[in-house]
């Protein structure tokens, strides 16, 4: 299969490319895809594990390009796209839960063996508890403890108030601490 070859337009801002993509220019949409696919795939991977990642990547981009007209600030495309990924991933998580398709055993293996020991222990603890958590808590915990997003960014990504996000993270941290204690004993 041929690798994707596209002009990078590296010196063109997202805002400029978005305004062309809004007019339906497929080449501009392809540029946005190429610029942000790693971010999207990485985010979906960290939220979901191996399963359903490509479906989420595809659905998120299709949704973004279909709804691009509602994005007023083209420079905010990456953040807006991130919120669509979270929205789409949440649906996939629910579907996985209903079909009992997830596998607990696979998730901690997502963590790189090259990570420093302390970091690896915490990340493996995060991924060991993800499937036990309510979906919103799971998402908030990953966005905070793995992606390192600020509370305000998480609030925008998840479509929840800051107060709600803080509660979700607090819930997640409680379970995380317990998991780490179990790991140490």
């Amino acid at each position: 299969m041929m690798a994707l070859v596209l002009p990078t337009h590296a010196d063109t801002s997202d805002a400029d490319v978005v305004s062309r993509a809004k007019e339906g220019e497929r080449a501009a949409q392809a540029v946005l895809y190429r610029r942000h696919v790693r971010m999207v795939r990485g985010l979906a991977y960290r939220l979901l594990g191996q399963r359903d990642v490509e479906d989420v990547v595809q659905d998120a981009f299709v949704t973004a390009f279909e709804r691009l007209g509602s994005l007023r600030d083209g420079q905010a495309f990456a953040r807006w796209l991130g919120s669509i990924v979270v929205f789409t991933a949440r649906k996939a998580i629910r579907q996985q839960r209903r079909s009992r398709a997830h596998s607990d055993a696979l998730l901690p293996s997502l963590v790189s063996e090259d990570a420093p020991a302390e970091v690896r222990a915490e990340l493996e603890a995060v991924y060991s508890i993800l499937t036990e958590l309510p979906d919103d808590v799971r998402i908030a915990l990953v966005l905070r403890r793995v992606d390192g997003l600020s509370i305000k960014e998480i609030s925008a990504f998840m479509g929840r108030s800051v107060a709600t996000v803080k509660r979700r993270i607090s819930d997640g941290d409680f379970h995380l601490k317990a998991a780490m204690k179990r790991g140490q004993s």
Partner: protein, 343 residues
Amino acid sequence: MIRDRDFDRRRWVEPERDDALDSATWERIDAKLTEGPKRSWAWPAGAGVVLAAAAAMWLVLQSPAEWSEGELVARSEVLRAVMEDGSSVEAAPHSRLIRQANQGADMHLQVAEGEATFDVARNAARDFVVHAGEVEVVVVGTRFSVDRGDVVVVEVSRGAVEIRHEGVSSFVSAGETWREPEENEELAVTEPAAVEPGALQPVEPQVEEPEAAEPEENSQSTRPSATHLFEAAQSARRDARHEEASRKYAEFLRYYPSHNNASLAAFELGRLKMDVLHDPRGAAHAFERAARRGSPFRQDAMARQAQALAASGDDAGCVRARTRYEAAFPSGRHLAGLASACD
């Protein structure tokens, strides 16, 4: 995006780069975009959605948002709307609200996705009902939020609401939180067990002072203020100090029978006496007080009075109370429950 460097561990949980996969995914995306959208982003109308003739009353104060035919869809920003009675709703990003047709004077909204905060204008002549999944939140004049996440969470910051879920009614007052029980969970706990103390911030109730204070026989008395008494009662109730809460509510009603919060205090007192203190006779008296004309809790208080009288063994009193309820609310929501309360 703003990231916290201490917590940014993305590089340790990253899929391998695969240009061929990128190409294949792009081809699929390209094909889907060429096909065109299969459905509008306004969502297909679900069962129970009724086009509201009053949809034109919605005033959008912030964009972006799409609404059409009784639907309010907030995408990347908060959306605020004011309803014709002065109530307002604030929808968080990625939320969808549906306005259902009015049922008489009652207003009905549905939180189909996301989270919304409602500031409901006080109006004892109508119910304002918010539906979220299997949960109904019935309000008469209050401020509360409904979060339709994995489970529905309702937080009340002013006034009180009735929550109906699977045939069970719960009354939630200012400063309390109600959380939908999850599968296999027997009780709907007001605080999730995993939350560390202090993680939830209680909201102080807003108490309105009456314009004229109650006349005092002894002007030199050190009687506590209405605000102090009411807040003390609420605080004791939240802390499960039931006896103390009961005394404080009774004291509040004795000193300030015409206060704006008197009906609420009477209703709370009735609930405590009935549900916790096992004093159905005392509960019936309190509910009768809460059921006075003009009270926002009139319908529920009248129903509960009948039930309390039955529980105290006063079947005749229960029948009279039920008859009064039926006359006042011929289509009332408690009719079915009261039918079997007493003979």
